[in-house]
C-alpha cells in the first residue's frame, strides 16, 4: 500500500492549473526547454540555410565549403535579382491565385458543408463520399483531361481557370472540415435565429459563420497554402511569363546548364514571406475562436 499525497493547494485559477496525473510526472522545466529548442532547430534550420545560401558567394557554393554565417553585406545584391526577373509580378499573381482559391473554395465549402450537415437528401452519403474520392486521384492524372477541357472552354493561360482548377482540388477537404464544425453546433441555435426572423441565408451568415470561424480559418490556411504552393497545374496551363505564379517563376531559375543557387534561394525567401504573414494573421483567429463561449455548461 502506498499513501497518496494530497495535491498541493495552489493559488492559481483552476483553468490555469496544469493537469498532472499522479505517477506520470511530466518532464522537468529545463528538459522541456531543451526539447523545444531541438524541435525549433530541426524545423527552423532549413529556413536558416535558405537565408545563408541566398547570401553566399557563388564561389562558396560551388567551390570551398559554405560558411556557417550569412554574408549580410550581400543583402544589397538582392536588388539585382529583383531587377532581372519580374518576381513581384509573380508574387502578386500567386497572391491572386491563392487568395482566389481560398475565397471561392470557402464559399463553396460553407454552403456544401451546411447542406451535408443539416439537410437530408437523396444521395447525401454518395455526395459526401464522392467528395472524398476526388482526393484519391493524383493531380498528375487529371492534368491532361482538365487541360483538354480548359482548352475547349478557353480557360487556359489565365488565372481564373487556374483558380477554378485549384478549387476543385482543395474544396473537398474544406467541405469536410466545415461539415464537422457545423455538426458540432446545436441545432437549437439555428431554430432560435429562425424564430427571431432570420431566413436561412442570414442564419448562415449572422449566426453559423461566426461560430465556425476557427474551422473556417483552419480551412483557409490549407486552401491558401495549396493555392500558393501549387505548381503542376500552373506550369501546364499558363504559358505566358507575366501570368506565372511565383512557384513557376521560382522553378524557372533552375536552368538546363546553370543554376544560380543563391538567386534561387533569395527568390524562395521572398516566396515564403507572404505565406508566413498570411498564416500569422489567420492563426490568431484560430486560437481566439477556440475559446469563445459555448452554449451550455
Amino acid at each position: 500500500m502506498t499513501t497518496q499525497e494530497a495535491p498541493p493547494i495552489t493559488q492559481s485559477a483552476p483553468h490555469k492549473r496544469r493537469l498532472k496525473a499522479p505517477g506520470n510526472r511530466s518532464f522537468s522545466k529545463p528538459a522541456r526547454y531543451v526539447m523545444l529548442a531541438a524541435l525549433v532547430l530541426f524545423s527552423g534550420f532549413p529556413l536558416y540555410w535558405m537565408l545563408n545560401t541566398a547570401l553566399s558567394e557563388d564561389s562558396e557554393l560551388y567551390g570551398q565549403a559554405q560558411g556557417w554565417w550569412p554574408h549580410w553585406e550581400r543583402l544589397a545584391d538582392f536588388g539585382d535579382l529583383i531587377g532581372s526577373v519580374p518576381i513581384f509580378k509573380w508574387l502578386t499573381n500567386s497572391v491572386v491565385i491563392a487568395g482566389g482559391t481560398t475565397l471561392l473554395s470557402l464559399i463553396f465549402a460553407v454552403l456544401a458543408g451546411y447542406a451535408l450537415s443539416r439537410f437530408k437528401f437523396y444521395g447525401k452519403g454518395a455526395a459526401g463520399f464522392l467528395l472524398f474520392a476526388t482526393q484519391m486521384l493524383p493531380e498528375a492524372l487529371l492534368v491532361v483531361p482538365i487541360y483538354a477541357l480548359f482548352a475547349s472552354l478557353g480557360l487556359l493561360n489565365g488565372m481564373g481557370g487556374l483558380i477554378l482548377a485549384n478549387v476543385a482540388f482543395t474544396m473537398p477537404v474544406s467541405v469536410w472540415i466545415i461539415k464537422g464544425a457545423i455538426d458540432a453546433i446545436p441545432y437549437e441555435i439555428e431554430e432560435a435565429a429562425a424564430v427571431d426572423g432570420c431566413p436561412r441565408v442570414t442564419i448562415l451568415s449572422l449566426v453559423l459563420t461566426p461560430l465556425i470561424l476557427p474551422s473556417i480559418a483552419a480551412a483557409a490556411v490549407i486552401n491558401f497554402f495549396d493555392g500558393w504552393n501549387e505548381f503542376l497545374l500552373a506550369k501546364t496551363f499558363i504559358a505566358e511569363r507575366d501570368l506565372w505564379p511565383a512557384s513557376v517563376g521560382l522553378a524557372s531559375f533552375i536552368g538546363q546548364y546553370l543554376t544560380s543557387l543563391n538567386s534561387v534561394m533569395a527568390a524562395a525567401l521572398l516566396f515564403t514571406l507572404p505565406a508566413l504573414i498570411f498564416f500569422l494573421l489567420v492563426q490568431r483567429r484560430i486560437v481566439s475562436g477556440l475559446t469563445a463561449g459555448s452554449v451550455k455548461g
Partner: protein, 398 residues
C-alpha cells in the same frame, strides 16, 4: 394577442406516432402547461405550435387564422429553449437586441456581409438600445450586458433567453422545459419570474415540462400527455382532486395517490372490511373497483385496536414540515394493492413529526369521502367519467 386552437393534430416520425389526434382550445392570456414524461410528445407538440416542426395532420389556428404553412417568424411567437440557444459570439446586449434588429431588415439587408453590418447598425439604434435597457433591468441583467453567454451562469443565461423572447412583444410565448438545466433553488426563483412575466404581459404562455411542481404552481390549465395521448386537460386543482384516470393519479402528487383494488357488493365498495360510502354519481353493481386515496387523506395511529386497516410501519421519511410514512397493510386483510404501488406500501402524509418507528404495528384510517374511484379495467375515473376524462375529447375551461 392570440387565441390558440389545435385541431386534430397528429405527428408521426416514420412508423412511430408521437401525437395522436390532439385538440385543444387555449384562450388568450392562459398559461397552458403540457406535462408528461419524456417521450410523451409534449415537446413535439410545442414545436408544432411554434412552426419548427410540421404536423402530419391537423390544423394550428391562431385567432381565426390557420398558420400551418407559416414560418415561426410569421406566427409572431417567441420560443425559449431548454438549452437556452443563445448566440455564443454575441454579448448579452446584442443577444437581446437581435430579434429587434432583424425586425428592421429589408430584403437586401440579408445579403451576407451586409447583414453583419446591418445587425450592428440597427442594434445600436436609439430605440432598440432603450428597449434592451428596459428589458435587461426588468430581468436584472444590466451588469452583464457586455458579457458573452459563456461567462454567465445557467440561471443568467436563461434570463437572457427570456429577455430575448420578451423584447419581441410576441403574441404568444412558447417555453420548452426552460428550467430543466437549473438547480432547485434557481428553478424556484425563475418560476416566480416567469409567472410574473405572464401577469405583466397578459399573453398566452404554452409551457412544456416534466416537472409536476412547475405545472401545478404556474399553470392556469394543464394538459397531461402520455405516449402522445391526452390523459386530462383541466385546471391544476381539478387534476389533483379529480384525476381522470389511474395514470394521472399516479403521475401527479408526490408520493402519488395510493391505489387499491376494492371489492364491490351491492354498490358498496369495501376495503379490507372497511366500508366506503359510494358517491351519489357512482352506480356500482357487484365486482371490483380501483380505489384511490391521496397520502394526506390517510391518518396513521399506534392504536392497534382502533377502526381502520391494520398494518406495520415500514418506512419513515421526515421532510421537516411533513412526514411520509410507508405502511405495509396486514396480509390477513387480503388488501390487493394496485400493481404499480412501490413496495406495496400505503403512503401517508402527516404534518409535523411522528412518534412511530419502522417496525411498529399501526392502524391506518382513511378519510373515506375523499376517495377516488376508477374503473378496474379501463382505469378511468368513474365519478368524472364522461365529463372530462375521455382522451382526445377536450373541453375548454370556464
Amino acid at each position: 394577442m392570440a387565441k390558440l386552437s389545435l385541431r386534430n393534430i397528429s405527428k408521426r416520425f416514420g412508423d412511430t406516432q408521437v401525437i395522436h389526434d390532439f385538440s385543444a382550445e387555449v384562450d388568450n392570456g392562459e398559461f397552458l402547461v403540457l406535462l408528461g414524461a419524456s417521450g410523451s410528445g409534449k415537446s413535439t407538440l410545442l414545436r408544432i405550435i411554434a412552426g419548427l416542426t410540421d404536423a402530419s395532420a391537423g390544423d394550428v389556428i391562431f385567432d381565426n387564422l390557420r398558420v400551418n404553412r407559416q414560418s415561426p417568424r410569421e406566427r409572431d411567437i417567441a420560443f425559449v429553449f431548454q438549452s437556452y440557444a443563445l448566440y455564443p459570439h454575441l454579448t448579452v446586449r446584442e443577444n437581446i437586441a437581435f430579434p429587434l434588429a432583424l425586425d428592421k431588415f429589408k430584403g437586401w439587408h440579408h445579403i451576407p456581409g451586409v447583414s453583419t453590418i446591418a445587425r450592428r447598425v440597427f442594434g445600436s439604434s436609439k430605440d432598440i438600445v432603450k428597449q434592451v435597457a428596459s428589458v435587461s433591468s426588468m430581468l436584472e441583467l444590466d451588469e452583464y450586458a457586455n458579457r458573452k453567454p459563456g461567462g454567465l451562469s445557467g440561471g443568467q443565461r436563461q434570463r437572457v433567453a427570456l429577455a430575448r423572447a420578451l423584447i419581441r412583444n410576441p403574441s404568444m410565448f412558447l417555453l420548452d422545459e426552460p428550467l430543466s438545466n437549473l438547480d432547485a433553488k434557481l428553478r424556484a426563483e425563475l418560476r416566480g419570474e416567469i409567472v410574473r412575466l405572464h401577469r405583466l404581459t397578459g399573453k398566452t404562455f404554452v409551457y412544456v415540462t416534466h416537472d409536476q411542481v412547475e405545472a401545478m404552481t404556474m399553470a392556469t390549465q394543464i394538459v397531461i400527455l402520455h405516449n402522445g395521448i391526452v390523459q386530462q386537460h383541466a385546471t391544476p386543482q381539478e387534476i389533483y382532486v379529480r384525476p381522470a384516470n389511474t395514470y394521472v393519479a399516479r403521475f401527479i402528487g408526490s408520493p402519488p395517490m395510493n391505489l387499491m383494488t376494492a371489492d364491490v357488493t351491492d354498490g358498496q365498495p369495501a376495503l379490507g372490511g372497511l366500508r366506503f360510502p359510494a358517491p351519489e354519481q357512482l352506480r356500482l353493481g357487484n365486482g371490483t373497483v380501483t380505489l384511490g386515496l391521496r397520502p394526506e387523506h390517510l391518518t396513521v395511529s399506534a392504536d392497534v385496536d382502533g377502526p381502520g386497516l391494520a398494518g406495520t410501519v415500514r418506512r419513515i421519511e421526515d421532510l421537516g414540515a411533513d412526514t411520509l410514512i410507508g405502511v405495509q397493510p396486514d396480509p390477513a386483510l387480503g388488501l390487493n394493492m394496485w400493481e404499480l404501488n412501490q413496495d406495496d406500501l400505503l403512503w401517508i402524509r402527516q404534518t409535523g413529526q411522528t412518534r412511530l418507528m419502522a417496525g411498529d404495528p399501526c392502524t391506518v384510517s382513511p378519510e373515506a369521502r375523499m376517495a377516488s374511484y376508477f374503473d378496474s379495467d379501463t382505469g378511468l375515473n368513474l365519478v368524472s367519467a364522461g365529463k372530462d376524462s375521455d382522451a382526445g375529447m377536450l373541453p375548454t375551461r370556464g
